[in-house]
Amino acid sequence: MRIGIVCPYAWDVPGGVQAHIRDQAETLLDMGHEVSVITPVEDPMHLPPYAVDGGRPRPVPYNGSVARLTFGVKATARVRRWIREGDFDVLHVHEPLAPSLGVLACWAARGPIVATVHSSIERSRVLITGYYLAQTALEKISALIAVSEHARRTIVDHLGGDAVLIPNGVRVDHFADAVPLRIWSGPAIGFLGRMDEPRKGLPVLLAAFDRILDQQAGARLVLIGPGDAEEALAGLPDRVREATVCLGRLDEVDKARALASLDVYVAPNTGGESFGIVLLEAMAAGAPVVASDLDAFARVLDGGRCGVMFPVEDSDALASAVIGLLEDTGARTHLAQAGRRRAAAYDWHTVAGDLLDVYASVIAGQSGVREDLRGQIVGRLARRRPGGGER
């Protein structure tokens, strides 16, 4: 099957959606399908062989954080050419509501289009982003997929229509086989995510870590992810700063190794999470998980059976939970085992099988994805420029 995947966010900026698309593409390639991904990217040198440069991204505030999106005449022209030359059986658009390549691809194509909604967006936001814009794109989509019950509710409540629930996946083997990375001493408490993004909740963890040090003087805080660590640690007691190890942004292999060497993984997120893939990654790597009690996390943790949960933004409860785990080896081993079992159910090969069923159900009897030139003023302009004749 020839599958064209559209990524809305910059490829070289780490994020859940980008990681999802990379895993999806690699798993499908692994299964013997032909895959091409078009994505915004800062530096096209970093693209894997299956990805195509969709243009430079511009930072735009979107859905509570700064997203790097690509749009405009030039991007439209690139998407059009990619669709024209790709000759895909099915087009898979991610996050069709983000004003980026996804919407452009929906406009530019006709034929079987599948779309995945990742984030849960509030109604007001959907309306602000331009209901008409969303509508024109959504009305062409043959099948909608939601990665979580939360994201599905966004679709049912605000856009009309229904979506098939296909949860996010984890490349379990990548994490389960990781060799622990031990470059520090003492029990390690890990955090993964952008340090400067408030909803990832690093300040909650830093406040709790001060209390954890009262009980566990040798504990280390391991920070993984992009962002200015100096800024995040500014104004904190010296002992907190000294006990913190900053690994910065890691590639996939080192990330798995770092997760595998944690004694406790903490997800102090304060909201806006629709699934919690990092939780599954930590679980697949065998790290016991402590997470804030967001709905999405509760679902991944099987209501608390596969991890410890604490009230959102309650750093005292977080500290007690971490101290409790660090003092109880039996509980840690138990959680690690339960976590590994839980993560296995979300392996990408299972997820890819479900995706292929959806593809097959929309492409049956169709002749593939074609360029759509009807009612596309921007598209026509973009096409006329390189001297190509119009239809």
Binding site: K140, S142, L144, G160, S361, V362, A364, G375
Partner: protein, 182 residues
């Protein structure tokens, strides 16, 4: 003063025109999507009944089950040209027979052990799952279209042209539980 009225009138007319052309465009998109989903659903239905006939000639099931499945599959094939409700009923019958034939994972495992060609069961599973998805996507498309066509202006001005009002496809499409259990 009268120039102002004229200008206002032109603006109002232009706005109406814009609204109509946009709505007509929407309807066109929605109808095209329904054509596609309808076609996909038809393909899956034909594939399923075809596969069932193939399975009955392969000796996968015991003779009694074989006869019932073959009977329903033939009826489903024959109803293709017929009326929508009758077709839904015939296809639902086939669904129910398949559900009864492979009710649980244990039954599926035994079938798989004795099967001359176990991949047939995998084909049957994916066809049934895809059929269910196809119908779901089709009915979604129909609902979205009917919502637009319900609007008063769309009805009064016949923006949908002569395209008949699309109908949802109603049938039982539960995949055999024995095959979908993980």
């Amino acid at each position: 003063m009268s120039w102002w009225w004229l200008a206002a009138g032109v603006v109002v007319l232009a706005l109406f025109g814009l609204y109509f052309s946009m709505t007509a465009g929407r309807l066109d998109r929605l109808h095209r999507r329904i054509d596609m989903s309808r076609h996909a659903l038809d393909t899956q239905l034909l594939r399923r009944s075809g596969l069932c006939l193939e399975i009955t000639s392969s000796g996968l099931f015991d003779p009694a089950t074989t006869v019932v499945i073959a009977d329903c599959a033939h009826a489903a094939r024959a109803s293709t040209e017929g009326e929508v409700v009758a077709r839904g009923l015939a296809e639902s019958d086939l669904t129910q027979v398949l559900v009864a034939a492979i009710p649980d994972a244990q039954e599926a495992q035994e079938l798989r052990r004795d099967a001359p060609d176990p991949s047939m069961l995998d084909d049957l599973r994916s066809t049934c799952v895809r059929l269910q998805l196809s119908r779901r996507f089709h009915n979604d498309a129909v609902r979205a279209c009917r919502q637009v066509r319900k609007q008063r202006l769309v009805r009064w001005l016949r923006l949908a042209g002569r395209t008949p009002l699309p109908q949802t496809v109603e049938m039982d499409d539960t995949p055999p539980p024995g095959l979908t259990a993980r």
